[in-house]
């Protein structure tokens, strides 16, 4: 109730959008369902990538290496799954790869005091180099990723089709959003994480080990980018290709900011982006303007929204700044 009072605009827009979606659904069930399915499909890696960003940046570490993290994870997930013949192994290795890349970012920036932006760029370049150098063609997965119909939930009109007829990683993404949101704003870990990202010296004096917590968070946060990578090479498709992230890590970064570093809003932002994308391809050939203009729409919209919403989204106070004990900040 209190939440409703504080977030009237958000609640209002959710209701309006849901109503609009269901009207659309009623008018043209097939197209509506397919477009929302497409939107969520597009959004999954963005949500996961952005969650890695949320955990890292809420802890005070910028991560523009999400693209590279995802790419390495996609590579590791697919090839380990192909080699072992086990999808579970693939997913786990993908997540582990995300964590390893996260650990790299954490160690270089938190321990090594490297500039965080630069560390991210290095991750991206290293990831491209590694994955294309060690790529081998001709590997296949022994089986397809299962598609689950979640009992009851999948029966819900529209929403069931879109979210609950799902592969395991998309489901993981869906569940991760509220979990991370809850963890961030309702648990001890979240309170501490926000404090080290916002004002680390206050956390330090309150007896929180800022360095250790940043190391752990940035490392573990890589699990989401890892899952995103596994999604790309195993669930969305069934094979790794060089450079297959195709800029999704950067989009995730935009969505992270778009979503104001809050998981639920990040989720909404990713869906919005996914929907504009679905809309763009749906309109190709239907309305008579060059398809390039339609496909630009998502990027243009993001830019416009950011420009309009500027000042209302605020980055965590200490993001990007290394924490050195005893230097006051």
């Amino acid at each position: 109730m209190e939440w409703l009072k504080r977030n009237q605009v958000a609640a209002g827009s959710i209701v309006v959008l849901l109503v609009a979606a269901f009207i659309f659904h009623a008018v043209n069930e097939n197209v509506a369902t397919s477009m929302f399915k497409g939107a969520w499909f597009f959004a999954v890696p963005l949500v996961l990538g952005a969650l890695t960003g949320v955990v890292g940046e809420r802890s005070g570490v910028v991560n523009i290496g999400i693209e590279g993290q995802m790419l390495v994870a996609a590579f590791a997930a697919f090839f380990s799954a192909a080699a072992s013949g086990s999808l579970v192994v693939g997913i786990l290795v993908g997540m582990a790869a995300g964590i390893v890349m996260g650990a790299f970012l954490a160690l270089t920036t938190v321990k090594g005091l490297m500039d965080q932006i630069i560390a991210g760029v290095v991750i991206n370049i290293v990831a491209t180099g590694l994955t294309s150098f060690f790529y081998r063609p001709g590997k296949v997965l022994s089986s397809n990723m299962p598609q689950w119909d979640i009992p009851l939930l999948s029966q819900i009109p529209l929403i069931g089709d879109v979210f609950f007829q799902t592969g395991p990683i998309a489901l993981f993404a869906l569940l991760s959003v509220p979990v991370v949101h809850f963890a961030l704003f309702r648990t001890r870990w979240g309170l501490r994480t926000r404090s080290i990202g916002e004002y680390p010296s206050a956390a330090d004096t309150a007896g929180i080990d800022v360095i250790r917590m940043r190391l752990v968070n940035v490392t573990i946060g890589g699990i989401f980018a890892g899952a995103a990578g596994a999604f790309l090479s195993m669930e969305a498709t069934a094979g790794f290709e060089r450079g297959m992230t195709a800029g999704r890590g950067f989009l995730a970064l935009a969505i992270l900011i778009f979503g104001g570093w809050r998981p639920l809003r990040v989720f909404a932002a990713a869906l919005f982006f996914g929907f504009t994308n679905a809309l763009a391809s749906q309109l190709q050939g239907v309305i008579n303007i060059p398809q390039q203009f339609i496909t630009l729409l998502p990027y243009l919209l993001t830019l416009v929204v950011l420009a309009v919403a500027a000042g209302r989204v605020r980055a965590p106070g200490a993001v990007g700044q290394p924490f050195v004990k005893g230097e006051g900040s």
């Binding site: 197209v31 397919s34 069934a238």
Partner: protein, 359 residues
């Protein structure tokens, strides 16, 4: 201090390994080339008349790209034994290196140089003029007048392959909805799309075709996830045939169709460029056929003509159609097979137009 020692150890290990390398032979050692193809290092002298050397320059991309680079290289390798040829490829990483990469082969006095992709057209013609004694095969490169005497363009009618594929889809679709997922909007993809649409409508006037091109950008042919997403949408809107025509982007669409419930029974997919049964095992559950340009055969044919000195400058039109049905042979009704075979024949002899106009 400890980490200082550790780092030194790592660097030292690297240097030792490098020096160990120096200790060995000083000459070139034989390396295996990237990925799918084996890149045989030079063993004979290409400048001698007895040694028949064929070099291949890829367009930006890899020789194992499951697309035209791979098809071209496999075409070369296919006739290698027959012609007693010595072969080698170089992968282009930057389009500004086309001329340079061609020159590596001319410098090494290769007899034939195959260049892949329409983007290399200008560079190939320029090299042809500069090295009149070397033969060039320009894969996907239309030779406009005046032709260069030692350059032959290997051209395919993508619209014909697309038409045959669309015809098949039109005959077999139950939902009367079919889709095509394409890479960047350029003439070859436009030709595939137009042929596919027209073929389907010729077979079944009530069919509707959804088509989608990848948004602009340098990932247009390498975004399988996007292709999968588009296929997902088309399938959800009731399409039962997905034609993936855009490199890895199209392959993503095929993989998505292969994973969909009913794949192989109600849902089918069609590959592109070469017989993707061989290159994309992940699509086997739905891959009924591929809209195939007989690239390997075209390359092989031209190499044989060069060897026998019967090659002509200008354009050589390779054939295009659809690949074998492989595991789906039993699922394609006999009358459909006959009708499709008939259309393919008419396309080849020119009696059936595709309705696609270039440019």
């Amino acid at each position: 201090m400890r980490s200082h020692v550790k780092l030194s150890a790592v660097v030292a290990a690297g240097l030792v390994a490098a020096l160990a390398g120096c200790g060995g032979s000083t000459g070139p050692s034989t390396g295996s080339g990237g990925g799918g193809g084996t890149n045989t290092a030079a063993s004979g002298d290409c400048s001698s008349a007895e040694v028949f050397c064929v070099g291949l320059v890829t367009d930006v991309g890899k020789v194992d790209d499951k697309g035209f680079n791979q098809a071209a290289w496999e075409g070369v390798e296919q006739v290698k034994g027959e012609l007693g040829a010595q072969t080698k490829f170089v992968e282009t990483t930057d389009p500004k290196d086309y001329a340079k990469n061609i020159k590596q082969f001319t410098d090494a006095k290769y007899d034939v140089i195959v260049t892949v992709g329409f983007l290399m057209g200008d560079a190939t013609r320029a090299a042809g003029k500069q090295y009149p004694n070397t033969k060039f095969i320009g894969f996907d490169q239309f030779q406009a007048d005046p032709v260069v005497p030692n350059v032959t363009g290997l051209i395919f009618h993508e619209d014909q392959a697309g038409y045959a594929a669309g015809y098949l889809a039109g005959l077999m679709t139950k939902s009367n909805k079919i889709g095509v997922v394409l890479g960047q909007e350029i003439p070859p993809t436009q030709a595939y799309a137009a042929g596919y649409e027209n073929g389907a409508k010729a077979a079944n006037p009530s069919v509707t075709v959804s088509k989608v091109y990848h948004p602009a950008g340098n990932t247009a042919f390498n975004d399988p996830v996007w292709g999968a997403g588009e296929a997902k949408k088309m399938l959800a809107q009731g399409a039962d045939f997905i034609f993936g025509a855009g490199g890895n982007t199209g392959n993503g669409a095929l993989q998505e169709a292969a994973k969909t419930a009913g794949a192989g029974d109600k849902i089918f997919c069609i590959g592109v460029d070469l017989d993707q049964w061989d290159t994309l095992p992940a699509a086997h559950p739905c891959l009924i056929t591929s809209a195939e340009k007989h690239e390997k055969d075209g390359i092989g044919e031209l190499l044989k003509q060069i060897k026998s000195n019967t090659i002509k400058p200008g354009n050589f039109f390779g054939t295009a159609g659809i690949s074998a049905f492989h595991d789906f042979d039993s699922k394609v009704p006999a009358d459909v097979k006959t009708k499709v075979a008939d259309i393919v024949k008419k396309l080849e002899d020119g009696s059936q137009a595709t309705g696609y106009k270039a440019g």
